[in-house]
Symmetry: C2
Subunit: 428 residues, 2 copies
């Protein structure tokens, strides 16, 4: 914490509260970093038990948020995401126990070696320190994020949306009752004034990383304002490319799964690329099947030509960069693998892209040349997920290339340091 | 490259040049990412040969910078750093060949596993993409940085200081003559107008990471303005703590080496912490020896008391957070290990800190609890360096905790992606 308390800046009371929370988090991070992993796991067990025994308080607080949401005419889907039911609380506490059961990454020796002068260097995994999570309405993020950060020895500063403020306060109050937990290890910024987000984003002496979770406008604000490193999920413009040598039935199954199974997910596809070699023989049937699954198609000229009898809308330039998040799919005919690679170099958001082909060399070129976090050959893009990867937990999916890329599990919430043991060596 | 060409923004000609450079770098990065490592090594060899054969042009350009510097009354030390001599050019080309000889990290399989549903996941090391380096006067950085980025398959956008503009242009022009090098792989922003730095820092669709190398004001500007991830070296407030059980002779040697051998280095110490148990028996002698080495001491009250006969100045609060970068040392007496840990939690810049002790348990607690990139037991902090670590090369030292911490070698200039191979798996 270099130059830790710049006394020159004058803060308003809400800013002072944020600053105090960050200072307390910094102290808690120091304590957490010295604790044995077993002690941290005991905290997680205590949290699960405490949340269960505070169920009534949590439901009561959640009812206040739901009432506010209804009064403010929030969309029913939004209200559903806010709601904490017996079942969703059970899912939360189960989640806590799942994280508790995961292997502890802290203290792992990543590498060690001895230099010719005899100094011994060990690269060891350590917590990051203080992690700020800025997120929107879903209150389950409050528990998920705090617990993943705690498992990895980090202190958490949470800043939830105003829609879930009562629920978030109740969940945090419950977790904070745990006697083993160091003061300041899990905290919520009580004010939901949006003006505090930029202030939080500037606390570079106190926060080690900010993870924003929410819509584009939140991410944009954090990226613009942050003086602290950010790990973000920007866009999920995912795609499937059906190559000339594709197994057609497999292609259909993968496309339908990747588009329809959960269209609101970031790993669902927004774009379908079809090899020109298949335009005459396969495209029309394929479009029909996709439409029959309830998907609206926006197609380029070739698609419009070969999909007679379907209700294809003409695609605009914007359709190649739009994250529809619903049952809409932009479809383009491309000239073989190179056409697909050119399209992706220009439009992919580097999240998840898939080729369907039976040709090994084509597949290997695609895997090598597509610059996305997860590149698929003959499997649905919907597998881009910490759980599906076997990480046991996920704090989010990164579309950045530094530190963490793709699904982020426990390891991605850690840093490392070098320990150097000598016998008096000095540099010549 | 999501939403890659926002046509709405109106750019002045200098901004348009920066944008065009970044677009060309993005294309080059795509080409580089598909090349076999041997091809990249051939480019490095070509660069070394080309720089040698362009020596006269490079010296001539450098003379222009030196003349400007003399005309502008730059400090002699600054002018020395600018100068390219036969020897320093040889060091540059030797450096290129050294990087050429390093093992290629690209393509390394970091992990691979199969999920119960049969999808096979491979985590593989890949280039980051486009790396922007913003640096100050030393022209050798131009070659070093470009070559390290190239070795790891990255395109580089360089933005040097105005003092070295002729030298930088000549070095870049020489490297760009290499026929194997893809167009746009190594580029220099020709304008040295400072207003372009914030503009460059906002090119988040085109640049993957910015590495600023220079003084505090440059780093601050980049951190404040960047919408692109930054890896930085902020401060080097390094320290030695002499514990009660230290080998006194070893302590003296380490302190003198860490302070005096090269005081302008970031891994030189600025702070000395001495265990109160040693105040009466050792402190006075130690201070005398340090002063005899030409070091000015700023001491706390206890130091002032026990260093009679020495010329100790009273330390101020600011001395604990000042990077002197010269022969000045702030000295404080602390209450044992806990006193040292408290001091470091408050004042360390998390770069390099050292304990001198013969007590294993004390040393292990120090190694575990000090949150710095490199934590030393009985060795000089001056070893925090890519070369001394055996990395073979160094792009800088990171005081951040994300992605890269401590000395940054080739691996730290890479990212990873996940390749997923299936046989038609879809998510249920």
């Amino acid at each position: 914490m270099h130059v830790p308390h710049p006394a020159t800046e004058s803060l308003n009371p809400a800013e002072q509260r944020v600053r105090d929370i960050c200072l307390a988090a910094r102290d808690a991070a120091r304590t957490l970093s010295t604790l044995p992993p077993k002690r941290i796991d005991a905290m997680l067990e205590e949290i699960a038990v405490q949340l269960e025994s505070d169920a009534e308080e949590i439901f009561a607080a959640n009812k206040l948020d739901i009432a506010d949401a209804e009064r403010n005419d929030l969309a029913p889907a939004m209200i559903d995401r806010l709601r904490i039911t017996e079942k969703s609380l059970t899912v939360m506490t189960l989640g806590v126990r799942q994280v508790l059961g995961l292997p502890q990454p802290l203290g792992e020796k990543l590498r060690d070696w001895t230099r010719p002068n005899g100094i011994h260097i060990t690269k060891v995994r350590v917590p990051i320190g203080v992690i700020a999570i800025i997120y929107e309405s879903r209150p389950n993020v409050t528990v998920d994020a705090a617990v993943l950060c705690l498992k990895t020895g980090n202190a958490t500063v949470l800043r939830g949306g105003k829609e879930a403020v009562h629920s978030n306060r109740a969940l945090i109050a419950s977790m904070q009752k745990c006697r083993l937990l160091p003061a300041g290890a899990i905290q919520l910024i009580p004010d939901t004034d949006r003006a505090l987000v930029p202030f939080l984003c500037r606390q570079k002496e106190l926060i080690d990383v900010i993870i924003p979770r929410g819509g584009h406008s939140l991410i944009e604000t954090v990226v613009r304002e942050a003086q602290v490193p950010v790990i973000k999920h920007a866009h999920g413009i995912c795609s499937v490319f059906v190559h000339a040598d594709a197994n057609k039935k497999m292609a259909e199954e993968i496309i339908l799964n990747a588009k329809v199974q959960r269209p609101s997910a970031c790993n669902a596809i927004e774009t379908l690329l079809v090899d020109r070699a298949l335009a005459e023989t396969f495209l029309g049937d394929l479009i029909l099947k996709i439409e029959q699954a309830g998907v609206e198609i926006r197609g380029d000229e070739t698609v419009l030509k070969y999909a007679e009898g379907c209700h294809v809308h003409p695609a605009t330039e914007a359709d190649w960069t739009t994250e529809f998040l619903d049952l809409t799919l932009a479809v383009r005919v491309v000239d073989g693998l190179d056409g697909a690679l050119d399209h992706l170099a220009r439009y992919s958001s580097k999240h998840s892209d898939c080729i369907v082909t039976e040709d090994l060399r084509t597949a290997e070129r695609y895997l090598n040349e597509v610059d996305s976090a997860t590149v698929y050959w003959n499997a649905s893009t919907r597998f881009t997920d910490g759980g599906e990867f076997g990480f046991g937990a996920e704090i989010g999916i990164s579309t950045d290339k530094l530190h963490a890329r793709g699904p982020m599990g426990l390891e991605e919430l850690t840093s490392y340091k070098y320990l150097i043991r000598g016998e008096g060596q000095v540099r010549r």
